[in-house]
Every structure is written in C-alpha cells, then in structure tokens.
C-alpha cells in the first residue's frame, strides 16, 4: 500500500496474505524498489513481516505486511539488498528464510551465541592465505572483525563480521515514548545525533499528528547540516591522513572541531544532543547568536576550502584515491547502498531530494560518478559546499514564530515511517503503535546497515593495503549497524 513518509497510516491496512506478500515484495523490488526496512514484529506466537519499499524517482513509499508462522522463501538470491535484512529476521524471530545463501547471525544476541564465533567464508589453494583483523584495532575505533582471503597482496574476498556493539536499543523504545526515548535515539550512532534524533522526532510527530513550526524546521536543518559539515570535513582529513598527506589531515581535524563548536553554540553540546524534541526544537537563536554563527560559518568554510582544495591539487593524493576501491553503479544499486557512498557510484539518491521533508525544497543533489575513493571523497566536498549554502540561507532568512508545538498522544494501531538524510545516508525509522497508543515496535535502519556490504565489495579484487583507505572513504558506523 502506498503511504506518505512522515505521516501516520493505519497499520492494519497493509496486511496481506503471506504468499501474496512475498510475491508483491519481489515484484515491487523488481520494479526498481529499494528496501527501506524489512523486519519481523512479534504478534502472539507468530511474527508479522513488514517491508517498506521506496521508489526513489517517484518519491513513493509502499508498506506491506503479512503474518508468518513458519519458514519463508528467501528473496536474497534475487535481491542482494535484502541479504542482511533476512539474516536479521532469522536471528530475531526464528523465521527461517529458505534458500538464503549465507544465513548466519549478524548480532549474536540469541542465547549462547558469542560474537564473532561462526563459520567464515574461506578460499582454499596452495598460496591463498587468510588475514584476520580485529575486533580489537590499533586506532581508537569501534570493534569489528574483518577476514580477508588473499593471494599475496590481492584480496579475493572480505567478510565483515560485526555485532560486538549490540545494545538492544530498539527494544528500549517499546512501551514508549517516555523521557528516555529521545536520548536513546540521539545515541543510536553517536556521530549522527541530529540525523537519528530528527528521524525519531519525525516518527513521533507523524503518529501524534503535530505540525512542526517552520522556524523549528529551519533550526533542525541547521543542526543536521552542521553535523554533515563536521563529519565530511573530518572524513576528508582522515582520508588525507591515510595517504600520509599531512596538511589537509591536520587542518581538517581542527576544522571539524570548529563545526562541532558551532553546534555547541546553539544547544550546548558539540554533537547536537538535546536540540531536537518531538514537536520542535529545544533551543532558539537570538540575533547575536545568528550573527556569530554566520561569521563562524564563513570563516570556517574559507579554511575548509583551502585545506580541501590542496587534496585535488596534489598529484600523489589524486593518484592514490583514483580507481582505488571501486564500487560499480550496478553493485551499488544491487546492494541498496545509500548516502555519499551511493552517490559516488552514480546512484541518484538523496532523501533531501527524493523524499523531501522539513525545510528542504528544490534540493539539488551532488553526484560524482566513478565509484572509487576519489569519488567518495569528492562527493563529500560537493556536499560540504551545498550544506554551507543551505545553512547560510536558513540563518539569513530564519522564519519567525515559535520553535515548538505541543506534541500530544500517539494514534493507536498506527504506524509511521520517517526518512532523514543523515550525513552517512538515508536513515529510516519505522514506528508502530499498539491499541493503547504506546510504541509497540520500533525499527531503526542506519545507513551503515546497507553500506557495510558495499565496503566488502569495494575490496574485491583490490589490494589489501588499500583496505584502510577504502574503510575511511565509507566511514561506517558499527554501533549504528549493531544497535
């Protein structure tokens, strides 16, 4: 059934017969749909499968559901983008997708499961060797286990095994919303505070039918774009650091901090915590603060421009970035990649354009097409320019009026989908309420959930020494994927 994102719909109306559900799902995906979410929610002793399909070009979202008691037919062989979704369904509900090519746990949260202990894909041959990296790494990063099947320096296959960061945070939303729900949303992935907080607020607002005032929408836009600016700048610096190019690496590290400090100026927290609340924004800007923000924005942007253009002007850096870790457009579409990683492969998907929300209108998207590390870096630079333009526009023409509307009770037996373009890509929150108007189920799909497989593909046939650079060019979240 076609629904609108960020507005509630009757959850009972999307019910289908199980056989028809699988058939419909397959035909909609074959028609160019992209799975936004696919999950099981418990209903008595059975499980209800829910799939949300997005059609990017038509800005169309469809939701289907069906009650299952036994095994189901895996759709992964035809639609690789469902690969991780079906494994998740199997792990969380016990419904076995028959014919899934690589059925194994993804978060190891069932009794007796130990993270990382599973069968791995292996390649055999006299000169093939295996390199295992992690879960404890040399840098200050999250835990994850990476297994490379190599022939000399060349990678045949990379298997990424995560799950070490699983907290069970989705479950904590059930029975809410309560005082803690928003804070759980803010910490779904720490560097995407604004993105996830907005997605959560969007879902709650849709379910309670409140309209967010324009001033609050613009302020939210500022926070989200500042988050994007900080992370993209940090990423470009980290990419430069990985190829030992010092100037950009050092300057971008500081400039990332400047953007974070601008966020702190608005709400008192460098990562934008406590800024969002269902119904609006928690903090308003006065004229002095507006001026200060604009001033800092221009100053910081000028420095970023200087630091980043060094990258494109330095032959050795460009040579290192170009044709490293290429993900073809076919692979990106097949795996359902989102965000800068998808746009770097030439996929025209940006939630701000395809599924507009809040203050975004007539958004034009930045695509840089060859799918290598260079494209993933360059698309970030294009987005930095775009974000600065947006923030400047909002700050200069901030709509007058209140920043908050009262958010009432949630509609019972309803559901809502909220799609937000976080800096890593599309964030999808799917909220379902029970008859009492409390959250009965809450599903979070972080962009990393889609994109980790893209990283594995980027390495295929490449050099193992390119892994850190490719990894940095995706810069995915471990906890956002493990939840």
């Amino acid at each position: 059934m076609k629904i609108d994102h960020l507005s509630s719909f009757n959850f009972g109306a999307v019910d289908l017969d199980p056989a028809l559900f699988l058939e419909t799902a397959a035909s909609r995906l074959a028609a160019g749909g992209r799975a936004l979410a696919y999950f099981a929610l418990p209903e008595g002793t059975a499980h209800r499968l829910v799939m949300a399909v997005g059609f990017d070009r038509e800005s169309r979202v469809e939701v289907y559901s069906a009650l299952f008691t036994g095994p189901l037919r895996a759709l992964t062989p035809s639609f690789p983008q469902l690969h991780l979704f079906e494994r998740e369904i199997w792990e969380q509900s016990g419904l076995k997708p028959e014919g899934h090519p690589w059925l194994k746990p993804i978060r190891f949260n069932t009794p007796g499961a130990v993270p990382g202990v599973a069968d791995y894909f292996t390649v055999h041959g006299s000169q093939v060797h295996e390199v295992a990296v992690g879960p404890v790494h040399a840098g200050v990063i999250e835990p994850g286990h990476f297994r490379f099947q190599c022939h000399g320096e060349r990678v045949f296959h990379l298997e990424i095994m995560l799950g070490y960061q699983h907290r069970g945070v989705e479950k904590r939303f059930i029975g809410g919303p309560d005082k803690r729900s928003l804070h759980y949303a803010e910490t779904l992935a720490g560097d995407t505070t604004a993105g996830h907080a907005w997605a959560y607020c969007g879902a709650v607002e849709a379910l309670s039918g409140v309209n967010v005032p324009p001033r609050a929408q613009a302020l939210r836009g500022v926070m989200l774009e500042l988050e994007r600016l900080a992370n993209h700048t940090g990423d470009l610096g980290a990419l430069a650091g990985d190829v030992a190019y010092l100037p950009t690496a050092s300057f971008c590290g500081r400039l990332r901090g400047d953007f974070l400090n601008m966020t702190a100026l608005v709400c008192g927290n460098r990562f934008g915590r406590s800024m969002f609340k269902p119904g609006g924004a928690a903090f308003d800007l006065d004229d002095a603060l507006l001026k200060e923000l604009l001033l800092r924005l221009e100053r910081t942007y000028r420095d970023v421009e200087n630091a980043v253009s060094l990258l494109w002007d330095t032959g050795s850096v460009c040579d290192r970035f170009e044709s490293t870790g290429t993900v073809s457009k076919e692979a990106a579409e097949g795996l359902g990649l989102v965000g800068p990683a998808a746009r770097a492969s030439g996929v025209g998907l940006d939630t701000r354009r395809n599924f507009p929300y809040g203050p975004y209108e007539n958004f034009t998207l930045s695509v840089s097409g060859s799918g290598d590390v260079y494209s993933r870096a360059y698309v970030r630079w294009l987005e930095i320019q775009k974000s600065v333009e947006l923030v400047r526009g909002w700050l200069e023409n901030l709509p007058a009026g209140p920043v908050e509307a009262a958010c009432g009770q949630l509609r019972p037996d309803s559901a809502a989908i909220s799609l937000i373009e976080g800096w890593r890509g599309q964030i999808c929150h799917f909220a379902v309420t029970g008859p009492d108007g409390k959250l009965r189920h809450y599903k979070v799909v972080d962009p990393s959930f889609h994109n980790w497989q893209g990283l594995a593909m980027a390495l295929r046939g490449g050099e193992i020494s390119d892994f850190p650079l490719c990894n940095k060019s995706f810069n995915l979240s471990y906890c956002g994927r493990d939840l």
């Binding site: 060797h129 040399a138 320096e153 190829v243 100037p247 050795s316 040579d319 050099e463 193992i464 892994f467």
Partner: protein, 305 residues
C-alpha cells in the same frame, strides 16, 4: 693521536643520529601548522624503552630475539666504515662499500626472520613487502656506489668521498647529481619514509617496515628504533658527503658544515613528507626503478666521459 678524530666522529654519530628524526618531525609539524613533538623525543623514548622488561609471545624463538640485536650491530659496524664529512672513520679498506651493502642486507635478513618468527599474518605480510622492495632498492644503491667508484677511481667509501672535491662536481656534475637523486630515493625507501611507507600510520595493513616490528617491546624495540636512526644517518651521510665535497683543510670547520648539511638532509625528508601523499604499494617499485635508472645513467655517463 690520529685515533682521536675518527673516534670522536664515531661517537658524534652515535649520539646525534636520533636527532635526525626529531628534525624531520619538527619540519612536518611546521608544515601541518602544529607545534610538534620535542626535538629530543626519540632520546626520551629510547631511555624509557631501555628501562622496560620485554614481552615475548610463546610462539617466538631465539630468531625473534636475535633480530633487533643483529640489526643494531650491523648499523654500528657500518658506522666504523662510513666516512664523516668526507674523512675516513677508523675502519676503512678497499671494497668496503660492498661490505656495507652486505651488512645492510644482513640487518634486513635478521629483521625479516624475526618478523616471520612471530607467525603473525601482519608481520608475514610486512616481511614479504620489505623483501619485495629490497629487490629494487639494493641494485639501485649498489650500482650508484659503483658509479661513484668509477668517478673517483677509489673502491673504499672513505677513498671515494675523500677524492670528491669541488672540481669533481665541475667536471662530472650530471653524474653526481643523478647519484645524489638516486641515493635520496633509496634513503626514503630504506628508511620507510613517505612516499614509500608511512612511519606514522597505525594501520597494520598498509605498513611495510613498522608492521615487522610490532611484536617487539622494551629494550629490543629501543635497539630497533636506534638502529633505524643510525640507518637514516648512514644514507643521509652519503648524500651529505656528496653535496658537500671537502675541504677547507680545517677538521672542525668541515665537521661543523657537515652536521649542518645532515640537518638539511633531514629537513628535506620532512619537506618531501609534508608535500606529498604516500604512493600506493604497487607503485613503490616504480619509484625504486627510477632510482635504479638514475644510477645506471650515472654509470653510463661516467663510462662515456
């Protein structure tokens, strides 16, 4: 009392070589707009490491412990042959340039053996890379020294650099310039500097030299770090002797100038590291082949002169 000067030269190298890394890091910090670590950081690190108790993995054998010791001993031995400011050290003989190439090879062999001894996938990968690049670096270096022997008509390092004067530069500038360039590229590669390697990275999968010494700790790590600084001095001083042909006649002036040139070489390494990114691993051989081509060209020019 003729032993006093070589001996004080020898001790000066032993004492001053860790300073080169300090200079490189300072130059890099300057380019990056940072204040940078203290100039004497390596001395502090060595002091700290020497006081620590090493930790050994159960899979390692004597080869693991021997690696750092052989590595640093080889470097200390090379110093006895290595000229300082174009003046001989106390051990110098005909054909000693072949001797130092073999000592460098021995140090590499011991390090690689120690790395393989750990049985770690990372260290094995590093060892394989180290050997792969040595295949290209060693001929370039050897051929370069051969060309220099032809230019000067000497076969000991001290003899070669002793015979090198401003006049030699005037008549054989292309040959000497090519050799200097070749030695500089070899210096970058052999001392795991950018663009061949990245001494600052923490990413094991991209490392060449650093990954081979990950398991070493305590005094043995200190030997490795110290050995690396001596190795940097060895290559740096060859370049220093090239670009600063003797001689004012005064030992003190020569030595003072030479130390300044060594600082300049370190600064040049720092500038290179700041101004460019690292090459992808598959392209490092191309850089070393360029060094080889420079050496070969120098030899050909010299033969035809």
């Amino acid at each position: 009392m003729e032993i006093i000067k070589p001996l004080s030269q020898y001790l000066a190298v032993m004492l001053l070589s860790p300073l080169l890394l300090g200079i490189i890091n300072r130059v890099k910090a300057l380019f990056a707009g940072r204040r940078g670590q203290p100039l004497l950081q390596l001395y502090f690190d060595l002091h700290k490491l020497l006081a620590k108790t090493p930790v050994y993995s159960r899979t390692t054998t004597w080869a693991f412990k021997a690696g750092p010791v052989i590595g640093v001993s080889a470097m200390v031995t090379i110093l006895a042959v290595l000229p300082f400011a174009g003046r001989p050290s106390f051990l110098s003989f005909e054909g000693d340039f072949i001797f130092i190439i073999y000592l460098l090879g021995l140090a590499r062999f011991a390090t690689v053996l120690a790395a393989l001894d750990t049985g770690s996938a990372f260290e094995g990968m590093g060892a394989s890379r180290e050997m792969q690049f040595a295949v290209f670096a060693e001929p370039a270096f050897f051929l370069g020294l051969t060309a220099l022997a032809r230019v000067t008509g000497q076969t000991s390092l001290a003899g070669m650099f002793g015979a090198l004067t401003g006049d030699t530069w005037r008549v054989a500038a292309p040959v000497l310039a090519l050799l200097t360039a070749s030695f500089f590229i070899v210096l970058l590669a052999e001392n795991s500097r950018v663009p061949a390697d990245d001494p600052n990275t923490h990413l094991e999968l991209t490392m060449i030299h650093e990954v081979m010494v990950l398991d070493h700790s305590g005094p043995e790590l200190a030997y490795i770090l110290y050995g690396a600084s001596l190795k940097l001095w060895v290559f740096g001083s060859l370049i220093g002797c090239m670009v600063l042909p003797r001689h004012s006649g005064s030992w003190a002036t020569d030595c003072g100038l030479f130390l300044l040139v060594m600082a300049a070489v370190a600064a040049a390494v720092g500038v290179v590291e700041s101004a460019m990114g690292r090459l992808r691993l598959t392209k490092v051989p191309y850089m070393l082949i360029t060094a080889f081509a420079f050496s070969a060209l120098a030899l050909i020019f010299q033969m035809g002169r």
